[in-house]
Symmetry: C2
Subunit: 239 residues, 2 copies
DNA sequence: GAGTGGTCTAGACCACGCA
DNA sequence: GCGTGGTCTAGACCACTCT
């Protein structure tokens, strides 16, 4: 009566094994993994099989492969993490570099929609970060970020938080964000937006609701961004 | 003094060769390519090299590979093309199936922003389609679609147009849309939106500006959608 | 020159779809 | 049972990086 997959390619098992070891912190961000040959010998499979698993991990941006140098756990440097998940772009196609300001962090009980989005119990404790983001000194978005206290203990000790949060998650908590799921809608600026973005009440804003996934597939962050798109646009390629 | 790539893997050359033959219509949508063995013999490379090229094509969704059956030029059926590039989703995560109505098509001279977006001369002739899209009988978006007459001759003869345009491009013109680039911003409903969407003037709308690319990398469609996101959201996963 | 990932090959065997 | 794509292996050689 079991409906298990009943067949699992070797390389896919290698993939899972390596993901687990990375998630466990055996190799940290920026550090190199053993060579293909070494991993193959260690795992008792051929180099080609290890290669296929590593290629898949590289495709998922979990690792970086550099010919002649080695294989490294992907590092979310400030720049890279900013550009990878921050989609707001100037009309002239130049990537905009965001900075942060007017930031606050507090601990509170999770709210129902957040609990649903993060698949957490209604009793969970979270940190809530509220901040304004700037591009070219102009406020362009207000963000509310909710993080489980269980995943990010004592997060408030790191205040003021760096510009690129995902680099912090990785460096301080070993949490690697590898994908995000976003829901976009248009909304009108409210009092709060008016104050933080300096736009008139009723200005159309792009609201982005995001859930971020760590390398082991867990939902670890929920955030709501409300963006003034009069000068920047949300830019995306679909394939 | 030349800065040419000066090294080009075999499989990448095979990839290009196959793309060209598909773009030329040697194998049409839904038809099967020769087997890996046959292609390898034909091209004078090993099966593994052909496989690597085919895997890349499958990743780019240009072909479909089906174990036990063969390799097929990807077919943009109504359903598939609708779901692949139509990102509006119900809040309950169910994919919404759009229909079309209130459609018009006319031929005119291209306008400057469109010419820039499509990399066409200012003198080009285009077809402009305007239509309203519905989900659950409710109007949810108004679309303006601009297509070069040189790429889609006599397009108006196919009126009324089918719901999934990309399937039409493929079937009638051999144009395979493989990727799109979109710019999103929030805007307020204008008179025209009011009329077509039945929303009050000033309702916040999600405006999506899209350029679509065919399999040979050419820009073949520009479209502007203005969406009412009060019931549907634009849903996207980033990796 | 040594070590790494990247390419290319050849061959065996497996899972799947179909007749 | 045959033909297809999918997996796995083993080995040779190439391109890149660093010492």
């Amino acid at each position: 009566m079991d409906s298990a997959p009943q067949y699992r390619p070797l390389y896919s098992q290698v993939y899972e094994a390596l993901i687990k070891r990375i998630a466990n912190g055996e190799w940290k961000a920026g550090q190199s993994l053993p060579s293909e040959q070494a991993l193959a010998a260690q795992l008792g499979v051929s180099q080609g099989t290890v290669r296929k698993a590593l290629d898949a991990l590289a495709l998922d941006k979990v690792i970086d492969r550099r010919q002649g140098k080695g294989t490294f756990v992907a590092e979310l440097t400030q720049e890279r993490s900013l550009f990878r998940f921050f989609r707001l772009t100037r009309a002239d196609e130049q990537r905009a570099v965001p900075t942060s300001g007017d930031e606050s962090i507090r601990r509170r009980k999770i709210r129902s929609p957040e609990a649903r989005a993060l698949a957490l119990p209604e009793t969970a404790e979270v940190f809530e970060i509220v901040r304004t983001r700037f591009v070219d000194e102009q406020p362009i978005a207000v963000e509310r970020i909710v993080l489980p206290e269980s995943v990010f203990p004592r997060l408030d000790a790191h205040s003021p938080l760096p510009n690129a949060l995902y680099a912090l998650y990785q460096r301080e908590y070993g949490i690697n964000i590898v994908s995000t799921h976003e829901k976009l809608r248009a909304d009108l600026a409210r009092r709060d937006d008016e104050r933080r973005l300096g736009v008139p009440l009723g200005t159309p804003l792009l609201q982005v609701e995001r859930v971020a996934y760590s390398v082991d597939g867990k939902r670890v962050e929920w955030r709501l961004s409300r963006c003034d798109t009069s000068h920047l646009v949300y830019d995306i390629t679909l394939t």
